[in-house]
Symmetry: C2
Subunit: 339 residues, 2 copies
Amino acid sequence: MADDKTMIHLSLDDVRDLAYRVLRRHGLGEAHVPLVAETIVAGERDGCAAHGVYRLTNCIRTLETGKVNPHAVPRIVPAAGAVVRVDADGGFAQAAFDQGLPLLVEKAQAHGIAILAINHCVHFAALWPEIEAVTAHGLVALACTPSHAWVAPAGGTAPLFGTNPIAFGWPRPDRDPYVFDFATSAVARGEIELHRRAGKPIPEGWTIDAQGNPTTDPEAGLAGALLTFGGHKGSALSTMVELLAGPLIGDMTSAESLAHDDGALASPYGGEIVIAIDPAGILGEAAAAHIARAEALFEGITGQGARLPSERRFAARRRTPAEGVTIARELYEELTRTA
Amino acid sequence: MADDKTMIHLSLDDVRDLAYRVLRRHGLGEAHVPLVAETIVAGERDGCAAHGVYRLTNCIRTLETGKVNPHAVPRIVPAAGAVVRVDADGGFAQAAFDQGLPLLVEKAQAHGIAILAINHCVHFAALWPEIEAVTAHGLVALACTPSHAWVAPAGGTAPLFGTNPIAFGWPRPDRDPYVFDFATSAVARGEIELHRRAGKPIPEGWTIDAQGNPTTDPEAGLAGALLTFGGHKGSALSTMVELLAGPLIGDMTSAESLAHDDGALASPYGGEIVIAIDPAGILGEAAAAHIARAEALFEGITGQGARLPSERRFAARRRTPAEGVTIARELYEELTRTA
């Protein structure tokens, strides 16, 4: 791979350096820089452009608008025995998760199941980094977080829910874990933005206009609301995310997060939950045999030509450390100008 | 409401009597009869015909084919501190849930979160009865169970997953709880059967034929596989259900349940999980205020004309104790002939 007029080639170390420089230049505290930077590197490493270097632009905007505490000091808050509660102190979620993870693992192993509740955090990344950090300990993981209110409930006419991702992970012995991580909206908001820029209509089922009517006009859709995936079922799941990572842990809903944003266009602010389950806490010594038995299910999927959700991501992960990645030259120059 | 040629009017007490008689007549043990009967009554009471008296036909077939232990004695199996494991002894799930529930509530209140794993049970009902039994204690609930392998993974060609319902409940002070309970398949298998009998085509997106191609022919769809709702996202959720209520708790996948059935057409056999979370275990004394704050989310849904998932069910529940219910005369006569 070589540079050309529109794309530039970077090694993962180059990506890391770039992320460090950009984050420091915009005032992020030294305790946070490596953690946030590694999230950016992980996005590029796994071939997820939307969660790679591109996300630095969100970080910059969030830092510049004062919507994240760059020097946040997360702290563990007292809670029940199988609960880990971390107050992120208004900082990016990574440091709070980093602090809570060892205790989440310890409590899941002690009790069989445990829940990590992160409060007052800014969440701009995918959930799979958290999921994989938990499955790496041989635990099953389930995570979700609200975002900003851009999505209408099924049968409704106005934005109320966030894109509200749900992510799940299952440890596979000597294999990449089984991991999914998806928005409960029909698509990412960025997809509609891309259609708008390209002057292309969007498929029906993605958005409604400001009057609540279905629309294929991206402009009208952005002024209206996204729809959830899967009709009323996706809408119910999105409601669940609002509740679990909102009021259940004493934090904001997506509507409250958007009100808090107050037009800054910063990353969402609020809560996140991660549930961890230890198979050994349920099955004791038989756990390993049953975890191995789950492989038949994965073979049943791939054996009929269907994909496992994170296959492409894991394939990229094996390729990019040697091959590096390419990013848009315009994005690179925008970031390096300011860095 | 009066009887006519096709329908017959019953009070809920009539439904209860009918269920008791049918279940006893087919050899179900006295410890199970009231529990299974109340599930049937709850279905009729809530206006869910598919989970009411009609389900007795499944119970009969399952009893007659010897695929359920009519005299099962569920027992608590040792597990970690926040885990309740109940071996249903091959019986209907109700007795195992009934035995595990008090301990699930106790453990959720002690640790903040707890998980109930029911093994070796026959599950023929909806999940909302379990969900509502948990929310009645002021706890948040999440439940799932595999079924028989009738559903293909997204991108696949052959049945692998069950209809794999996911259900969730949130306690609302002085109100019916927020509850959803849906199959991760695009539709219930029974819907396709109804189209077949009526000689009507089915909508695209419901099924594929035995060669894995989309079909609107109900006959071809029944010979092939159902699809999941919401494409690859629904497929991922269905996989999660297989894992959580299968290998994680040492129990069968939907493919294993169908193999175990061996053509008997009995109800699915295997595991079920229920996760319970105590808001007070996370928030302490602040829990009540945040639970109350969630009402704004529900108002945000209903205020724009959208429905809450179980609204119609709760409305029926207020109506049927006085008004009674109507069931198909043919079904009633089939059941009373044998009872």
